[in-house]
Subunit: 454 residues, 2 copies
């Protein structure tokens, strides 16, 4: 048996992986546990959802990332509970792992604010599977519209609603605008994809609330140039198979839309609740666990909670946002703190988040950025965005493919990852949809007149 | 309505797409119908199954490929029947499409020779979904082996059987050999992936029967260098959840293997049977439809059958093999034949297949090729293989990504597309598997001793 302290890290996202890597030369044995065998570059998931990138291009196998780090081991496993009294965790398969230090970086999952039934009609791009499902929904919508002739139902298939005006929602709406206006422009013979309606809804008075107002205005203008309608101050009342019901002020309206994408809030995963209960820790209403200034639990100083699962307050008492940067800095802090305690028995000064800024991209080579105190829009913001994202990706997997793919797409306007594969969880059946939309059974599909063959 | 003859093409594989493209300047309207929205570069599917390439890298959206061809339209639809008397086809959604000329290029599907129940334990890399499932099976096997300690069951998780010694089987076995010996070499802490047993079985006296004997010998040696055992003259009797039972001569043996991959035969899809019945055409035992020397049905000269679905004889009376080259040349022939009949009312001379040779690749930069009368092995064969495959890919989607990815992998020995996503159709449950394999409930996973942290 090794005599070194055992650091167990739950989660191979930005926080967990940063912690593991920061412990590379530390006198500890590390076990990183994740349910998935890969690290996912979540900020680019929306590009998988919109067919720009393949899943493989934004994921790095955890074993590959850590294969050369001799003090680290990766376990594929689903942590279901933590017992802080015995310093052990329980996996879903029944195994127990003991730790000396525990870093919980279990992230967040999508939240439908108590309306779980909306999930089946409005997926959230939070996992590879959900992003792929959204890609299928978008592509299928155009395919169904091409096959049916009733103008009303065709319009509802060509209406795309994105609920949530944060960075994910803005980026998704911009990408769908590009798909309709550029990527698919010449691909159909019966419909004009550029007639698609794309509506971005949010309950707040404007999009991109964490950004300065000027940048949110620039983003709205960039979206409108791509044909996206931005509706703010809107409360979604109902999402079903055929559309969205929403209130704006005192009016309630209905919008027929066969493709609705959720980019709303997030909440803590079940492990968060289990840990809060067993460790007697406080949580906020979305389930985040309150940590002290050193990111540990008040009653168990050898348990760190970092990233999206942590409710960590900055000096002004405001909670830190759920961003990759926050998680990564938290991971490095936890690692340093463990080393200092092992080597010197001393504490680090409290964690301080260094805010490098905020970024959102709106379609091809346009973005808004609030970086290092500068407000940027358009191409300069896009370049900053591309550079920062590539730096992070390269760090984990030294892949130049993503950049080459973007460059090719910008040259050719095409999107490579446009396949509809597998089955969607919304039990979509193309043949039934087409059959249901047709006015008469066994109608003949005639050739469009010469002009339709553009 | 357009007055031009209407050519309907069923299938967007090598044959159907070649036919559509060869009709680019012809005075016809083309409708290409496929169940999927993409063309799939099937010869590289095994690289998806073994984590070298992402699905998006070997697929091209059909609409994208044909978007600039003004006389062509793409329909997403599942053709279930053909009525040659009324010159019409029926889609699964109930729609009818009429044609003047029909080109049936519906391809082949995997066949388990009457043992459909083997499919659940031994997937065949014939579709994106199946290739992805195989990737998951291979990666999960190593993950389970890492988690369990019983040496007998660990060995069965580290045993990989490939049934079928054709090009697909040889290429799969070589790639799994590389994964075990190179890609995963440093990735685990409890197991040594290079101890995996990889067994390639075939009923024939040697692998790669369509190749000259000398090349098959070279291939076998290249496989053995990668740690693959080649067993020929073997008849598979049973495949189940835990392994394979097979006969060799008069002995019946059992091999415990949790990963079995089928690379056996193919058979015609259901549409083949429907067409043969309604058109009164002959078929062989795998369901291929017998066509005349001009690739049309004897009783319906406006129906061409090309590619894997066609039983087409060469001058010596031997059936043409199910290769991309045969399908593509058949597609071009059908297109030219239609043009000649429309413009001049005359017939082309009979179809003749020009055999450019055969290729199979065995791991990194090794291959065997029988090209243009030359027998090649090793690096020269690999270069020919890479060049030919890239030419075809570029033709359809002008992507340089595949080549770059290969180059990176050859430099780094890594495989980018190594994620386990979604659920496999074999209802694999990692947690249950681990729990079932463990000798005692809630056993503790201890840290391996220092030496295990390589």
């Amino acid at each position: 048996m090794s005599a070194q302290p055992h650091v167990v890290i739950i989660g191979g996202g930005f926080g967990g992986l940063s912690a593991a890597q920061a412990l590379k030369r530390a006198p500890v044995d590390i076990t990183l546990i994740d349910r998935r065998n890969f690290h996912l570059f979540q900020p680019l998931l929306y590009q998988v959802a919109t067919g720009s990138l393949s899943p493989g291009e934004i994921a790095a196998p955890l074993r590959g990332v850590l294969s050369k780090q001799k003090n680290a081991r990766v376990l594929l496993g689903d942590v279901v509970d933590v017992n802080p009294e015995t310093n052990s965790i329980l996996l879903a398969d029944g195994a127990i792992v003991k730790y000396d230090f525990l870093i919980v970086a279990a992230g967040a999952q999508s939240s439908y604010y108590g309306h779980e039934e909306w999930r089946q009609w409005a997926p959230y791009p939070k996992s590879i599977e959900e992003a792929t499902e959204i890609r299928h929904k978008i592509l299928y919508a155009f395919e169904v519209a091409e096959r049916i002739s009733d103008p009303v139902s065709r319009a509802s298939w060509l209406t795309f609603v994105i609920v949530g005006g944060g960075a994910t929602g803005v980026e998704l709406a911009g990408a769908i605008g590009e798909i309709a206006r550029q990527t698919l422009r010449n691909d159909f013979r019966s419909i004009h994809p550029e007639e698609a309606r794309i509506i971005l809804m949010d309950g707040a008075p404007r999009v991109l609330m964490p950004f300065p107002e000027e940048l949110a205005r620039n983003a709205t203008e960039a979206l409108e140039r791509l044909g996206v309608q931005v509706r703010t101050g809107v409360m979604v009342k109902e999402i079903d198979r055929e559309g969205v019901t929403f209130a704006q002020g005192t009016t309630t309206s209905r919008l027929d839309a066969r493709t609705v994408i959720w980019a709303g809030g997030v909440a803590a995963p079940p492990l968060g609740r289990a840990l809060a209960t067993s460790a007697g820790a406080d949580t906020d209403k979305s389930g985040r666990i309150k940590v002290g200034p050193d990111l540990t639990l008040p009653r168990f100083r050898n348990i760190f909670v970092i990233g999206d699962l942590a409710l960590s307050l900055d000096r002004s008492g405001k909670p830190l946002p759920g961003l990759a940067q926050v998680a990564m800095q938290g991971g490095v802090y936890a690692a340093k703190s463990i080393v200092k305690r092992i080597k010197m028995g001393r504490e680090l000064p409290p964690f301080e988040y260094f805010d490098k800024g905020n970024l959102a991209v709106i379609g091809r080579a346009a973005a808004v950025a609030n970086a290092f105190g500068f407000k940027l829009s358009g191409l300069p913001a896009w370049l900053v965005w591309a550079f920062i994202h590539l730096m992070y990706i390269v760090q984990f997997q030294s892949r130049v493919l993503v950049f080459i793919q973007w460059a090719l797409q910008d040259l050719t306007f095409s999107r490579g990852a446009r396949m509809i594969t597998g089955t969607t969880t919304t039990d979509f059946n193309f043949n039934n949809e087409i059959a249901a939309q047709r006015s008469q059974p066994n109608a003949e599909i005639t050739q469009p007149a010469g002009t339709a063959y553009r």
